[in-house]
Amino acid sequence: MKYIFKKIITLIITLLVISLLTFLAFQIIPGDSALTALGTNATKEAIDALREELGLNEPLFIRYGSWLSGIIKGDFGLSSQYNIPVSSLLKDRFIVTFYLAVIALIVIIVLSFPFGILTVKKEGGFLDRVITLICQINMAIPPFFLGMLITLIFGLILKMFTPGAYVGIQDNFLGFLGYLFFPAVAIALPKAAMLIKFLRSSLLRQLKLDYVRTARSKGDTEHQILYKHVLKNGLIPVITFLAMMIADVFAGSIMIEQVFSLPGLGRLLVVAISNRDFPVVSAIIMYIAILIVFINFIVDILYQYIDPRVRIS
């Protein structure tokens, strides 16, 4: 219980630090939202009036304070670009990114576990070397380039999907999932490659430990050793790795949404940053931060149950 309490305190402090950093970062970068909103033909008076209305003339802490209290109440304010409440703007975009991330995670798991185990079974063999090579290539290609390659090969040459023919979730759920599949693959491939390599080394490390020799002398088959003992122990670091990967998948979606023109959070973030739309940027960053901090929190808690040794330390 004390452990959980301690974790919750860290969680709150982390979020506060993130909120402060987000806020300050926006004060440091040049450009302001009033200027960007009114553009090149605006008069000085008009810019001043809008700055006043947006509250940009208030002192720094007062703005931070009112912004923070708004967030705590769940009110992120109005988007300076779209003039609609940030929460309603975010809601629809979040669904896209959420499904994209979930599909990507499923693809990662579906690809990495069978292949990871396969490489361990065939360690040093031809198949192991081929898979390792493919993994190496996948990790080396930047996701946005992979996205373009996928669009070219599966979209334009094989015509398995039509680039740009995105359908909304409310129009056609299956069509929506279908369109997200290829972007998700583009996110998943490099991550899956990392996970395969990680899984491989984690399992191989376990295989060299003493308990494996004991199991062997006990008469267990290689199959039993792998699935009953090694996999269980080898998975512990993999879970942490997976949790960290969720953050990566979200980050990856920012790039991929640009390539596939998906109306998700990542694209909204990019557009909002270039328009200096602080309410939207801060909301998205806080959203992602909260999500990641919570996932880590849950993993920490789960860990205790998987590995009782964590509780002692």
Partner: protein
């Protein structure tokens, strides 16, 4: 080994079956017949059909009086109209007004409301709506909305008078015969509160829906006053993340019209799509901050003009297309544009070196070109210029900044040495020239010449057409002689159009007019 291979083959098979499943029914799509479509352009227009137009920027507002971005205005052109609107030859033709008259002294503009014209919500347009719309843009309403962009030119309006049911009179503070070019501002219903979410106008298309980051959809306005127009039933303006994504979508057929192709993309699309070629109607220049050393010395500015080979820039970044310019105006202003200014500074590196020597900089100097990174075209131009300047001993560096940074640091605070950008202008010659007024808010090049200020004043006030043309030509000459900046080109605009469509028309202003586009029978 054999077992391993079998496993691999099985796996590949499984994956490809899974992927094939995703493709669904799309395989059955019938490829439209491509041969000879170019010959079919002459066939008559067909009414109906829907078209997807790719746009690169999200809309900054649906309220036409709040929209700032050129990318928004070009789309809203289909939904809104002003008292007058531009036609393809650069003339202003009556729109919401059926007729207008400008008093000989240039002080009173009288407009007659078009008979029977209606808003998209079915209500008739009244003179009160006109009064409201003009006052809103001129900052004359009692209740001001700070996000409405008040046009500096319109603030010359002293009063808006309703004469009768169909006549409105604008009285100006100072004589100005060019105000008509600014009266393209949208006429909207008086006191309508939902303009930002459900815009209502009088244009050829009416608003259906808008989803941020996705699209804006408009449909045919059946009551449009021009007989037979628009042809199309529905137009979707699809917001695409970037040109690369748009290029993929063009090839896949998800976009029918895309107006911002790069030269290399246009070459690749030849054959699959029709490429229309026009002008962007921009003044692209290497703008020099006239107050910062060494550009405060006219000899240095002139040296730069001699040292830059404009034709090579055109060849390198625009595939040889585009028009070279020599001053802050472009050929679309046919009546005013002075083409001979192109030859004032021929490419002559020796002369440039001599001028630098005279200016006390025989060994050249170093400066930074600040370029907004979202405009690849300007970044490419900067790269060519950097190479050319090396030949005369000037070493320039490129400093790429975000658009918002450019707006605040370069355009507003004027903290820069040189920058490359394209300036647009409305259909009034004044709009192209008045930023060089020494006191102008948007005089970001810090140009200052009292003769220029006086000539501009004369040009705006005069009611004599010959004198006006002469004055504007004088202004252009002054800019070139003073080498206010290095004027480069009016860049080409390359538009990909589906071969089944015809009628795409270029305007001397930056708009996408979908009311003239139609499917070929």
């Amino acid at each position: 080994m054999k077992k391993k291979c079998n496993f691999l083959v099985l796996l590949i098979l499984l994956v490809s079956i899974a992927l094939y499943g995703c493709s669904g029914e799309k395989k059955t799509e019938v490829k439209e017949e491509t041969p000879n479509t170019d010959d079919m352009v002459s066939t008559e227009p067909q009414t109906g059909g829907s078209v997807v137009v790719g746009i690169l920027q999200d809309l900054d507002s649906l309220d036409p009086h709040k929209a700032v971005a050129a990318g928004t205005k070009e789309v809203l052109f289909n939904v809104f109209e002003g008292l007058v609107k531009p036609d393809k030859d650069g003339n202003l033709v009556p729109a919401v007004a059926s007729d207008y008259e400008i008093s000989p002294d240039g002080l009173v503009y009288t407009f007659t409301l078009r008979e029977g014209i209606k808003f998209h919500n079915g209500e008739a347009v009244t003179v009160q709506d006109i009064e409201y719309s003009i006052k809103r843009c001129a900052g004359l309403l009692d209740e001001k909305d700070s996000s409405v962009v008040v046009d500096a030119a319109l603030s010359n309006i002293k009063e808006v008078n309703i004469k009768d049911e169909r006549t409105v009179e604008l009285v100006l503070k100072e004589a100005n015969t060019e105000l008509l070019g600014y009266l393209t501002v949208a006429i909207i219903p008086k006191d309508y509160k939902e303009q930002g979410t459900k815009p209502v106008g009088t244009g050829p298309f009416r608003f259906v829906s808008y989803t941020p980051l996705e699209s804006m959809i408009v449909e045919k306005n059946p009551e449009y006053y021009v007989e037979g127009k628009p042809y199309l039933d529905k137009v979707t303006f699809k917001i695409v993340a970037n040109t690369d994504a748009a290029f993929m979508e063009l090839q896949a057929g998800s976009i029918d019209i895309f107006p911002y192709l790069t030269d290399s993309q246009a070459k690749q699309l030849e054959g699959t799509m029709r490429i229309e070629e026009g002008h962007m109607n921009l003044v692209q220049a290497l703008f020099l901050n006239n107050k910062v050393a060494p550009f405060d010395n006219i000899k240095v500015r002139q040296a730069l003009n001699y040292a830059i080979d404009k034709q090579t820039i055109l060849d390198m970044v625009a595939g040889g297309k585009g028009s070279i310019i020599g001053t802050n105006m472009f050929p679309a202003y046919a009546k005013y544009y002075l083409e001979e200014l192109n030859d004032v500074y021929p490419y002559d590196p020796e002369k440039a070196k001599a001028l630098l020597k005279e200016a006390g900089l025989p060994d050249g100097f170093t400066f930074a070109i600040t370029v907004p990174s979202n405009y690849q075209y300007h970044v490419d131009t900067a790269q060519v210029i950097v190479e050319q300047l090396k030949a005369v001993g000037i070493s320039a560096t490129i400093n790429q900044v975000e658009w918002a940074t450019w707006l605040s640091e370069v355009y507003t605070e004027r903290k820069y040495e040189a920058t490359i950008i394209g300036l647009d202008a409305r259909l009034a010659p004044r709009d192209a020239m008045d930023r060089y007024l020494s006191t102008a808010d948007n005089n970001f090049v810090n140009y200052s010449n009292s003769e220029y200020d006086a000539t501009l004043d004369k040009a705006i006030r005069t009611v004599d057409e010959n004198e006006k043309v002469e004055s504007y030509q004088k202004l252009q000459t002054l800019l070139t002689e003073d080498a206010a900046s290095v004027y480069i080109q009016d860049p080409p605009l390359l538009v990909a159009v589906n071969k089944k469509l015809a009628g795409y028309t270029f305007y001397p202003v930056y708009v996408q007019d979908m009311s003239v586009v139609y499917f070929i029978k």
